[in-house]
């Protein structure tokens, strides 16, 4: 796997032609993605996560790992209250003078300090200041490693090279594959290789991960969770697993493929376990890798009854649901909506690329409004204003954008919708939320009417090379 030997992961735009803007229908997007995609730009944007935010999220999720943000103090803010954030977060606190003279001294101090606190791994993340200033981070790291023997890994984030923040997950994965995962699989084989599975998670909430762990526990499958909610040891032993399965294949593709290609850990490519069919496919795929197919069938038969009963009540019959989430879970969620008798009235995803475009075929109605919004609430508001939806499943933080249209927002992540328990939880939530339809916002409309009446791609243009 040649790209593992590179200094940094390529951006998603370069590696997989990630498309981050599109407004139209599912059919139109399928047609567009069947050819060579041309990069687009927005002439109006709202602030959204970048690769730094996503890379911090992953690396700070490793217990005991020190994460050094080499930049101004504000660049480290996002990990302060993450539920699984490491307590060893350092900022080199660069100021204007450092932006001119360089921040090497502060970086040396930060690495020494982090390493002296017994960190299980030390990561340095780049920021716009260090990228523009061209700080020679690798020299500082090499010098420290030569002097102390402590391994330090550089995540070459910069905040501006990629429009697709999922690049941050790739950069973090690259760091882990190069710097932390045990490279000697044969040593591992002598100590019980192959008796557990890697569960790869990047963005899922604790409740989502816990619900999937519960399913594996019921099946007697041992699981190694990484990179979020993990420890340095969990990451190290990932190369000894029998297989890796991701909760969101698109986000975790770099790590799952890297483990397979560099360490021979079989990649299980399956759907996010949301909805009856997808949960079954997920469990069958994982069980197949560990040779426990019969147990899996027994388990599925046992769990299916409750979910079938919930679905038979068709709680979504006559209701429209707009899905605003990553393409991987959206494909499974669309099936769940249909299993519960509802209709998908529109889909907004952050990006589509070569790796996940196959999932577009999982949606059946080519006339469904489909937008690639890259976390732009004003475009999503525009789309919502033109659809007749009753519910909108949204990530945390943008529910207020949904309310002006009389749509009930369902924030994802508080309660897990994964697995059979997730089906029951979602059905139950829908029954409770039906009374909230037509809910009015307290705040006035923030978007001008002239914008909502325009086409959603008004501010999207094709990039000129």
């Amino acid at each position: 796997m040649a790209w593992i030997d590179e200094r940094a992961a390529l951006t998603r735009e370069r590696r997989s032609g990630a498309l981050s803007a599109f407004h139209g229908t599912l059919g139109g997007l399928k047609t567009l993605m069947s050819g060579e995609t041309r990069q687009t730009l927005r002439t109006m944007t709202q602030c959204a996560p970048d690769d730094i935010v996503y890379a911090i999220r992953v690396l700070a999720g490793i217990e005991g790992a020190a994460v050094i943000i080499h930049g101004s103090a504000g660049c480290a803010a996002s990990a302060l209250f993450a539920p699984d954030a490491s307590n060893l977060l350092y900022s080199t606190n660069l100021d204007e003078k450092d932006s001119i003279l360089g921040g090497d001294e502060k970086l040396r101090e930060a690495i020494s300090r982090a390493a002296s606190r017994g960190a299980s791994a030390v990561f340095v993340l780049g920021t716009p200041v260090t990228a523009i200033n061209n700080d020679d981070v690798n020299s500082v790291i090499s010098e420290f490693e030569d002097r102390t023997g402590v391994k330090v890994t550089y995540a070459n984030t910069d905040g501006f090279k990629s429009k697709t923040p999922v690049t941050g997950y790739d950069i973090a994965s690259h760091c882990l594959l190069r710097g932390l995962v045990e490279h000697s699989r044969s040593e591992g084989s002598q100590s019980g290789c192959g008796c557990f599975i890697n569960l790869i998670t990047m963005s899922e909430s604790p409740s989502d991960v816990l619900s999937v762990l519960g399913m594996f526990e019921d099946l007697g499958i041992s699981v190694n969770v990484l990179p979020r909610y993990s420890s340095a040891d969990s990451v190290k032993r990932a190369s000894r697993a029998a297989a890796s399965v991701a909760l969101n294949g698109g986000e975790c593709e770099y790590l799952v493929d890297g483990l397979e290609e560099s360490f021979g850990v079989r990649a299980i490519r399956t759907d996010s376990p949301i909805g009856i069919e997808a949960a079954e496919r997920f469990i069958r795929a994982a069980a197949g890798a560990l040779g426990v197919e019969q147990e899996a069938e027994r388990y599925i038969a046992e769990r299916r009854g409750e979910a079938d009963e919930a679905a038979s009540k068709t709680p979504l019959s006559g209701y429209g649901v707009f899905l605003n989430m990553d393409l991987e879970p959206a494909a499974s969620f669309a099936a769940l909506v249909s299993e519960l008798g509802g209709k998908v009235t529109g889909v907004a995803v952050p990006y589509v690329d070569e790796f996940n475009k196959r999932l577009l075929d999982k949606f059946h109605d080519n006339a469904t409004p489909f937008i690639v919004a890259n976390g732009q609430p004003f475009e999503i508001a525009n789309a919502l204003s033109k659809t007749k939806s009753d519910f909108c499943v949204v990530p945390r933080g943008i529910a207020a954008s949904v309310l002006p249209f009389g749509i009930v927002p369902i924030e994802w992540g508080h309660e897990s919708f994964f697995g059979w328990d997730g089906i029951l939880a979602f059905s139950s939530l829908i029954s409770r939320l039906k009374n909230s339809r037509g809910i009015k916002p307290f705040r006035g409309e923030i978007y001008k009417k002239t914008w909502l009446s325009k086409s959603g791609n008004w501010h999207v243009k094709t990039e000129v090379r």
Partner: protein, 436 residues
């Protein structure tokens, strides 16, 4: 500037400016930086604002703008933001890149203003300091910028003898800024004065009124910067307090100092102080039984200088607490010995060391002190930023209302902790006795 910081709580100037702009109704910020800069702040400081955390317009600069300059990208962003998002005043806030690349941000804002769009810009970038610096600088840029657009009403209407502008209680940097400012407005009205608090229902209109204020009052050194600039440019007299007033004595001190400057009607001050005293005493006399249970409790305080000073004084003088450690987080200075009290630090490792040595029975700090409070098995009362995921709307720890709230929360935290501890001990006794 201090070197490396563990778990930096003060963000950068952009973050302070962003919270300041978002907290003023009618003001819409336009962030000129890479897309994640504003999001970083929201993930740390999830404070309630009209624009949600991912709704803030920003130029999301890309590599080509870093190489060739981001001026034209900012131009189109401004032009389109005013067409898409509501606002009576737009302010461009800069990240580090635009300063390093040398984008002509004032030029772009001026171009927009020439098109009669109400756009101004902040004249600083993220790495110029902490969020507190960002508040000071943005506040000044907003007032001065509004004046430059001709929005300010000061010069036409002359100075308004009963208008007082309040500075130094900053959005997101004072955990209870809205409640504190509304409490100040209530008090000022009783003194026949109208308070310009900026972060209340009045919103951007109050920016327009600011140059005509008769007096600027500051409750921290961060407000002092704005008052100084206002005095230089508009000749507005200033009055500076280095504490947030909590309890009757502090309110009295503040009211008398302000009354001296704005000369309220005869009897207004005495009437007001009499009523406030009665209100304060009414509530406090109900607490004697509860206070007895917490007399002499050792308290450690972590927060901004003005809050730590004001709250510490009240705890010590009214609730008979012993303040064993005070850590000031908004103006960390290098040097200072371990024996210094208050200590100045924004580094969580240093702060935790100070708290470990303090022998405190209770910590009054931010949610960032939760791990050390757990480690020391003491209660944590959250009085400081960053507020984390907690929703804070109108609660105040200022004035008489604030003193009552603080007394409730402080005593309840200690007594609830004691009750929990007693329950643990009772269970332990039962467990031990069952061994035999």
């Amino acid at each position: 500037m201090k070197n490396v910081i563990k778990n930096p709580r003060n963000g950068c100037s952009l973050h302070g400016a962003l919270m300041t702009a978002l907290a003023i109704r009618g003001v819409t910020p336009i962030v000129h930086s890479n897309s994640g800069c504003a999001v970083q702040n929201y993930l740390a400081e999830n404070f309630a604002a009209r624009l949600g955390r991912f709704e803030v317009p920003g130029s999301s600069v890309l590599e080509k703008q870093v190489i060739f300059g981001g001026g034209s990208r900012l131009r189109e962003q401004i032009k389109n933001t005013v067409k898409v998002l509501d606002g009576s005043l737009y302010i461009v806030l800069n990240g580090c890149e635009s300063a390093m690349v040398g984008d002509d941000v004032p030029g772009m804002a001026k171009e927009a203003a020439e098109r009669k769009e109400p756009v101004i810009c902040a004249r600083f970038a993220g790495f110029h300091g902490s969020a507190h610096h960002g508040y000071s600088r943005a506040m000044w840029d907003l007032i001065d910028g509004a004046a430059s657009l001709g929005i300010a009403r000061g010069e036409e209407s002359g100075r308004c003898g009963r208008l007082v502008s309040v500075f130094g209680i900053a959005p997101g940097l004072n955990a209870h800024f809205r409640g504190d400012l509304l409490e100040l407005r209530r008090m000022f009205r009783r003194l026949d004065a109208e308070a310009n608090i900026f972060f209340g229902p009045g919103g951007a209109d109050e920016l327009a009124n600011a140059p005509s204020a008769a007096l600027n009052v500051s409750f921290s050194k961060w407000g002092g910067f704005v008052c100084g600039r206002m005095e230089e440019k508009y000749g507005t007299p200033k009055l500076e307090f280095d504490f947030v007033p909590v309890g009757f004595e502090a309110v009295r001190e503040m009211v008398l100092a302000i009354a001296e400057r704005i000369s309220p009607d005869d009897g207004a001050v005495d009437d007001f102080l009499r009523e406030e005293r009665v209100r304060f005493e009414y509530f406090m006399e109900l607490t004697d039984e509860y206070r007895a249970a917490v007399i002499g409790a050792r308290a450690a305080l972590v927060g901004t200088e003005s809050v730590v000073t004001g709250v510490g004084k009240f705890l010590n003088e009214q609730l008979a607490a012993t303040v064993t450690a005070s850590v000031i987080t908004d103006s960390p200075a290098s040097g200072g010995s371990n024996a210094d009290n208050p200590r100045r630090s924004d580094d969580s490792e240093e702060i935790e060391d100070i708290l470990r040595r303090s022998g405190a029975d209770i910590i009054l700090g931010s949610p960032m002190e939760a791990p050390i409070a757990r480690e020391l098995n003491v209660p944590l009362l959250e009085i400081s930023p960053p507020a984390g995921p907690k929703l804070i709307l109108g609660k105040s720890y200022l004035g008489i209302t604030g003193a009552v709230n603080l007394t409730e929360d402080y005593i309840s935290a200690l007594t609830a902790h004691k009750a929990g501890r007693e329950l643990e001990i009772a269970l332990e006794i039962r467990r031990m006795s069952q061994k035999y």
